[in-house]
């Protein structure tokens, strides 16, 4: 089996190719996720539309305090970008947590979000940072908050033929701290068994003014642990309060048994790693 490979340099061209070939076409960026499914025989497109040469999809920029990462920026570019590091060091760390340098040189930020494997690293961190993707189709452009992008395992709310052009991370309120932790009991380049992304901002009196906690790899999508957030908001984040919030995060997790551990074990690890992430934010 083989396919016709298209490499348009304009976004309109890419959209037109996808629209014209419909179900027979598949978009690729770094092709890391695509090739795995293709080799397994699970994808059988007759047209593949490569996005890497579409210049308007690349690059990383600051847009009035918001960080805008183009869809075809690679993980390696993002992890080494001074703009990303300045915006949020934990986000740079989440990009750097993906697999190996070899994968990160190839895999793109947009491809990662569109692939929507719940065990991936950047989605949890980007959701904690309240990011949104810009998506474009022949019908126009729309913003999709990450909370609405991820629908199920490997499933997004993107329409067929719709493309992510960039992910936009809003400016963080001054004093906001962020953490990304990834529990890797097997090998350093594995997918997470559990990951936790969190942001926290304290008011002058030391109480928690704002907090977001997101769990990765323990559900069909990254999971926002809102009950844990509610337990912290307005409270003094002492050890007892953090332990209470972490226990609520365990209850928010919805993992499955797999090679990385039983559901019960992962739930417990969600508690442990939420506690660690939160403690690091108030240390």
């Amino acid at each position: 089996m083989s396919y016709a490979y298209h490499e348009p340099s304009e976004l309109d061209e890419a959209l037109a190719l996808l629209a014209r070939h419909g179900d027979d076409a598949h978009a690729v960026a770094g092709a890391t996720a695509f090739m795995l499914l293709y080799r397994q025989g699970l994808l059988r497109p007759s047209h593949v539309v490569g996005l890497r040469r579409v210049r308007s999809l690349g690059g990383i920029r600051d847009d009035g305090g918001a960080l805008v990462i183009g869809a075809t920026a690679t993980h390696r570019e993002a992890e080494r970008s001074p703009l990303v590091a300045r915006h949020c060091a934990a986000l740079a760390r989440a990009f750097a947590s993906v697999a190996t340098v070899r994968v990160r040189n190839q895999a793109t930020v947009g491809g990662n979000l569109a692939h929507a494997d719940p065990a991936q690293d950047p989605p949890a961190m980007l959701l904690a940072l309240d990011a949104a993707v810009t998506a474009v189709s022949p019908g126009g452009t729309r913003e999709i908050p990450l909370a609405e992008l991820f629908v199920d395992v490997l499933t997004t709310s993107l329409a067929p033929g719709e493309l992510i052009t960039a992910v936009r991370v809003p400016a963080l309120a001054p004093g906001t701290r962020a953490a990304y932790v990834k529990f890797l009991p097997r090998t350093a380049d594995d997918y997470a068994t559990v990951s936790v992304a969190a942001t926290l901002r304290r008011s002058e009196d030391g109480r928690v003014a704002d907090v977001r906690v997101v769990l990765g790899a323990v559900g069909p999508t990254p999971i926002r642990a809102t009950s844990a957030e509610d337990a912290l908001r307005g409270a003094a984040p002492d050890a007892a309060r953090i332990a209470e919030a972490a226990a609520l995060a365990r209850d928010a997790a919805d993992p499955i048994d797999d090679v990385r551990g039983s559901a019960a074990y992962k739930r417990e690890m969600a508690r442990v790693w939420t506690e660690r992430a939160l403690r690091s934010l108030v240390a």
Partner: protein, 147 residues
């Protein structure tokens, strides 16, 4: 792979039973089903299109009612389908049981699924999620249809 689905429908059991045993009408409640037609006594042919993440599957196959007990509201169905896009097949044995539950009806569907060929590469967790989702939507649609 075994799957179990139960739900309650606020419709009397007799009415739900009539819909369930009208296979073309019941099949219309499974999202992605099309072209259902009779293929002999208690046998039906049809197509099912399913999307699992980026993977699109299209099945064609047959459903047969192999046993039914109208008084007890129980039936056993057998489904055999081939997947043409990627290659593979699914064989399922499905037990349907309805019971009175107050004014309404308790629906229980137990399936035993065998997946063969390339579509098995999707892996059990993903296949199970998709099957669960289809069953849930089927149950909800049945409630609307029988109401």
């Amino acid at each position: 792979m075994k799957l179990a689905h139960s739900s309650t429908v606020p419709v009397p059991v007799e009415r739900v039973w009539t819909v369930v045993m009208d296979v073309p009408r019941a099949a219309a409640c499974v999202p992605g089903v099309s072209g259902v037609s009779g293929a002999g006594e208690d046998r039906f042919r049809g197509d099912l299109a399913v999307q699992v993440g980026p993977v699109r599957l299209s099945f064609s196959g047959e459903v047969a009612i192999v046993a039914r007990d109208d008084a007890a509201h129980r039936a056993t169905l057998r489904a055999d389908a081939k997947e043409a896009r990627l290659g593979g097949s699914v064989h399922a044995s499905v037990e349907i049981a309805l019971a009175r539950a107050g004014e309404g009806c308790a629906l229980r569907i137990e399936s035993d699924l065998q997946v063969a060929g390339r579509i098995g590469e999707l892996g059990q967790p993903l296949i199970q999620r998709k099957a669960d989702q289809l069953l849930r939507e089927f149950g909800a649609c049945l409630a609307r249809t029988a109401a």
